[in-house]
Amino acid sequence: MDDLLQEFIAETRETLEALSGEIVAWESSPEDRARLDAIFRFVHTVKGSCGFLDLPRLGRLSHAAEDVLAQARTGDRTPDRALVNAVLAIVDRIGELVEAIDSGASLPDSGDELLIAALEEGAEEVVSVNLPGIQRAASRSVRLNVELLDRMMSGMSDMVLARNELARRLRHGEIDPTVEAALERLSLTVGEMRDTVTRTRMQKIDALFSALPRMVRDTAAGLGKSVSLHIEGADVELDREMIEVMRDPLVHIIRNSIDHGIEAPGDRRRDGKRENGRLIVSARQSGNQIIIEIADDGRGIDIERLIRKLVANGRNERDLRAMSDRQKLELVFEPGLSSKDEVTDVSGRGVGMDVVKSSIEQIGGRVELDNAPGKGLRIAIHVPLTLSIISAIVVGVGKQRFAVSRQAIEEIVTERSEAIRIDTIGGAQVVTVRDRRLPMIDLGELLGVPRAEMETGQMLAIVSVSDGSYALSVDTVLDNEELVIKPASPAVMSTGLYAGQTLPDSGLPMLLLDCAGMAHAAHLDFTRNVSHAYDEVEAEAATPGTPALLFCDLDGVRRAVPLGIVDRVEQVDAGSVRHSGGQLRITIENRILPLVVQGEYNLAKRLNVLRLKDGESEVAYVIDEAMDIVMLPDEIVPAKAAGPVAGVVLLDGDQVELLDAYWVFGEYAGDEGEEVQPVCLLADDHDGWMTAFVQPLLEGAGYRVVTELASGETASVVLSAESGGAAPGVAAPLVRLRRRKAAKAGDDSIYRYDREGLLSALEDRIAANGGR
């Protein structure tokens, strides 16, 4: 029974962690069915286990939550804010209770009834719904002692070495082909096994990140701030143990960011920032390190206040002032420092950045700060890969061999190559590779290893580190190997040149070079611009560009369609196409969709169909094949007349037609319950400019555009060029377009390329005229 209980606690904990992201997402969009299901599954599982393990309190709570969620699922109740909050409170209480059970503590149960009562909506009845058996989450996992895994790992390595030894011995004598075949098979199996075993130690960093959305939400809400969290690189793999060590520092840094960094909404408005604070947490592997970055757009570190605080703590002010900017910034890691004047219940618990720093350093990592006062703070945690399999290049200098992470190497060239020249500038060696000029590090010289006397030229590995690139000169490039890298002892690491050690199949230990460390040791100086990096992040967020799907159409023309409206691409039997009700239609998943065809399609073939969706209606579009996802350039040359093509864009020097989504939906999807479109009359469009430019725009905005009124038709609004007056005999408001950008006094006309202005003017005039 005890085992079962432990199992239940561990499982619930894990699920809760995984769920916390879902919960926040559900809160922001309570209609989201997938999230609702996930939370429902959780409480349902807890309830089931409770009955079995005789945990009545947990059972009661989960049962109540399950009931309400079941109603939300069947549509009997709308998941509003109150409901979401009540359910979240229950989920939280379940977490607390589970922890209490684990530690053997008792938790007063007075609040339970209140929580359950909060689920009720007025006098609504709580009806128990019997649901069919809920599928448990598909992921199967077991918990294992790390020590056991380590034993398995080292056993595995021993096996590899034993196999190598065996192979070496066999090679001396005459080998029976059958023995050789058996050895071959053994080698293969051992290799596969090693991969599998090694991967048991690794975990996706998502395990660390999945709890963040909830934490950020709670912390921000507690402080009356609003913070949007953006997570990147959740699938980077890290040693499981490392993930555990990282947990507390990460939480601390994020809390700090929200509490001290990101300002209150009012302050942000005053400083011209968005009210929503931005927090970006990202992980990436860079050579032999994992870099976890926490960037916020808050106020940054106030160094002046930091110094005042330290002076108040009894430090010598002159010493502090004499420090370099970087040293001053590092003061934030001094113990006993709360960078905020008052202590808050969120982060002012006496745990400072000094603790963060020391725990990161304990695992051989380091913390880097990029401070932009008033703009934000970026904290980068560099963690060594304690244990990882990396693809490495083995290089040789003199008699020694070293491994270099493949990821860090851009290319390998030989010195003799025509494209390479090496010069000495002011004592430093500089390599020119094609058009790039790079500093050079001679590995033999750096390490003090005598280089081999060789006839042939040496090899240059172009190495890129986070700050820049350099050329590493070595004697030979030997091999490309997958290596299991382990941390080296402090005696080795203190040189600053190595990132770890490995035991390749040769059985002779080898060191992994630290590319950034070597650049540092060789005094290469890549000065970088902090604020520039910030601007880049901003700019990226501001103009994401429009991605589009490039495809080859049936008529052989290459066209692009904005990715946003492409629901999916699928293959459909040509037999499901019918000409019915005046146009081509296709049957997909028991639905009839209007079909757009440009060109000839072959009835015998299966058709590639784009399903385009604008939110309400759906249209199918037959293509020859999908080619690529591209980013649309800003410049679009509009098409001459309204039609399936909105314009032409230049992609990789090639003209590509851009599909006019407005036209396609307007033309084909219109019969799904058409609204009455306001009619816009284009008056005196003599040069055809308005039909070419304005008409597609207006049609996109939901107007029906005519150049002449049919009998009995009335215009809702009239659009005319500058000189023209109201069309005779039309009683509709008039919007005039002018050619010049600047307006004369008293002129209410609209500049003809002012898209927004035009649309809002049209709307205003129609509304003022009684909304016809």
């Binding site: 390595s157 021993d158 390490l447 003090g448 002892s489 005696a491 080795v492 203190s494 230990p509």
Partner: protein, 143 residues
């Protein structure tokens, strides 16, 4: 209370090592040098599937590097890393009582920081050394 000690020869002198600090005694094979590492760090050696850092004990004690090709080593485990400390020879494993280092013994250089006390073997006092203080990178912490 008597405790088990390993009596070894380092730099021609007998020293006693707490058996708790000793994981095993091995003969190490080929050593991979670590360029730019401290002088008393010999290099890396493979011990089956494990990689150990080989320490020239004699030079770690501040004496002239032994220079000989001693390959007998005591394996110790400090802060998650394994080290092989080279010794000239191993003499004995026996229980002894640890006696404090009496005042007035002027041990030279690193012996002072490594010394933890003495044991008496047939009337001959033998210095007890702390292996972890000889391990580079930990010496400061051990003091």
């Amino acid at each position: 209370m008597a405790h088990l000690y390993l009596i070894a020869q380092i730099a021609g002198r007998a020293v006693a090592i707490d058996s708790d600090q000793v994981e095993s005694v091995v003969d190490i094979g080929e050593v991979t040098a670590i360029p730019r590492a401290a002088e008393h760090v010999r290099g890396l050696a493979a011990l089956r599937s494990r990689v150990v850092t080989v320490v020239d004990t004699q030079s770690a004690l501040g004496l002239e590097a032994s220079g000989n090709e001693a390959c007998r080593a005591v394996i110790t485990h400090v802060d998650g890393h394994h080290y092989a400390l080279l010794v000239d020879a191993l003499e004995d494993v026996a229980p002894f009582d640890l006696l404090p280092l009496a005042g007035g013994f002027a041990l030279d250089s690193a012996w002072r920081s490594a010394g933890r006390g003495i044991v008496e073997r047939d009337g001959e006092p033998i210095l007890v050394i702390d292996l972890s203080s000889l391990v580079p990178g930990h010496a400061v912490a051990a003091e």
